[in-house]
Amino acid sequence: MPAFLSPAEWTAVLLSLRIAILATLASLPFGILAAYALARWRFPGKTLLAAALYLPLVIPPVVTGYLLLIAFGRRGIFGGMLADLGIVLAFHWTGAALASAIMGFPLMVRAMRLSFEAIDPRLEQAAGTLGANPILTFFLVSLPLAMPGIVAGATLAFARALGEFGATITFVANIPGETQTIATAIYTYIQVPGGDPAALRLTLVAIAIALAAVIASEIIQRRGEKRLARSA
């Protein structure tokens, strides 16, 4: 691979993977919680929460990036507090992960919510009558049964994170070795004379990674579905 890609390109690929993996893993618990809450709980403001969660899907990514900059920039509301703790997100690769996580969150929650909703609530009731409290019921029954949807949601979020451009470049710019991802690197290369071969190589890598992720999730889901066949 290193022969195929220049060191700079290789850096962008590794950084993209690092950002996408961090974004996916860090948003996973929140995504599962939000999906379960939307699928099972009734609480005031539920519709509003659902709408807010889908917001990143419908507003321009640049706007999301700009809002992140306002909130998490060095002089931002949260940025200042985090800076005191020694955590810097703006113009930092972790900031790119945050931007990617937020952009992928609606996709993640949607897939997971659907699979939680598909679980027969009477299975959870049965677990209750057998003595499992709600938390154990969640981990022993709901979560395993929702696994295909959780895998699907995580894959979507991962793929979205790999391709994230607008919010990322607005929030953390396009600094080689720090915040330059495959997407922003391709953007840079096509602006430069003679950059086309590099842009094309990165494009192929991006397609390969995305394809691998989708195939892997397909296999995991198929295996899960086979096990749950005739689940009623």
Binding site: A126, L130, G131, A132, R227, A229
Partner: protein, 361 residues
């Protein structure tokens, strides 16, 4: 001892049920929509009553006045649902052990091996629920509920989804549970024969209210005849007589006569209850001769109730008990039968077999 007194309203339907009982198997009997399953849900803690109290063995599970509600997972009440609701992501063995993990160690009184042996599911342990037949699934569900070592076992029409042969396979198991594991059971059913066979006490529900309760032999005939869906049926308490091994028949004795049934019916001189459908009874004004029917009970005509071209005839049997027969109104008029007249009830043996017979326990 279970003591229930609850009210709940859902939409147009209002449930208002009170009963208490300590006998082995209590049956909740009634047509669908009578509130049976809702009552089970309230006992199990799957729903909250608007008002009322549920006490099990002195432990208050619900008391709306005291704002007390013990959640389902702390009640230690096992439920066998209509559809087994086995966990599809777990194997049979893990399903069986699911409730056991949560039972306090000192309360795990039932041994895994004994339950598996009784239910005959040893060969299924390594399978997935999706690979089981309906009857097998239901047996595993019973095992799963049992192994949580519950203080009370609720059956919510466990056979509704099963065909008759599968029911016949599982009904004796429930009798075994009752006799062997000594767990009190509340059993929901709309099938007369199941209730007669299993229950020592029956509570009849209709439209959210208790309309009768007592010994099945006393309560069921009137409950059944009020509901045309049952087509009228009678419950007779009889004594097991001789067995005719050559023909595979068993004699059941009653002061008013003898019934032969196909198949075994229990030990000789044991007391059994038997359900006789009104449509399986033929009437005769004189002692019958030269017929293939060999089961004849004698009695007096008590009442004739017309229902269109048909009539339901109540017969007060010699000795004790009542029997309902269904006949056309014309046949009754042509026989010249009037209340008080002696009458002979012919019961077709082929219509009766062991599934209609239950211990009078």
């Amino acid at each position: 001892m279970i003591d229930v007194d609850v009210a709940r309203r859902v939409g147009q339907f209002s449930l208002n049920v009170a009963f208490k009982n300590s006998a082995g198997i209590t049956a909740l009997f009634g047509r669908s929509g009578a509130g049976k399953s809702m009552t089970i849900g309230l006992i199990a803690g799957l729903a909250r009553p608007d008002q009322g109290r549920i006490v099990l063995d002195g432990r208050v599970l619900v008391d709306t006045e005291m704002h007390l509600f013990v959640p389902a997972h702390e009640r230690r009440i096992g439920v066998v649902f209509q559809d087994s609701h086995l966990f599809p992501h777990l194997g049979v063995k893990q399903n069986l052990l699911f409730g056991r993990w949560f039972a306090p160690r000192h309360e795990r009184t039932l041994s895994f091996d004994a339950v598996v042996a009784t239910l005959g599911i040893g060969h299924l342990l390594d399978r997935a629920p999706a690979q089981l037949s309906g009857g097998e699934r239901q047996r595993v569900a019973i095992g799963r509920a049992l192994l949580s070592c519950p203080h009370l076992l609720l059956f919510d029409e466990p056979f509704a989804a099963l065909d008759m042969p599968r029911r016949l396979e599982i009904l004796p198991l429930i009798e075994t549970l009752r006799d062997e594991f000594k767990i009190p059971i509340v059993y929901v059913s709309h099938a007369v024969e199941e209730v007669v066979r299993l229950a020592a006490w029956v509570i009849v529900l209709d439209n959210g209210r208790v309309t009768g309760q007592g010994d099945p032999a006393e309560v069921l005939p009137s409950a059944a005849s009020e509901d045309p869906r049952f087509g009228g049926a009678s419950v007779l308490t009889m004594r097991v007589g001789k067995r005719d091994a050559a023909y595979g028949l068993t004699e059941l004795l009653h002061p008013s006569g003898t019934i032969w049934i196909a198949g075994p019916a229990g030990a000789e001189s044991a007391c059994v209850r038997i359900v006789v459908k009104a449509t399986d009874v033929t009437l005769s004004a004189a002692p019958p001769r030269g017929l293939s029917v060999q089961s004849v009970l004698a009695g007096k005509l008590a009442r004739v109730e017309a229902a269109g071209p048909l009539a339901i005839v109540d017969i007060a049997l010699a000795g004790e008990g009542r029997l309902s027969a269904m006949a056309t109104r014309r046949a009754i008029d042509e026989l010249g039968l009037h209340p008080g007249d002696p009458v002979f009830a012919l019961i077709k043996t082929a219509a009766l077999d062991e599934r209609w017979v239950g211990g009078a326990g």
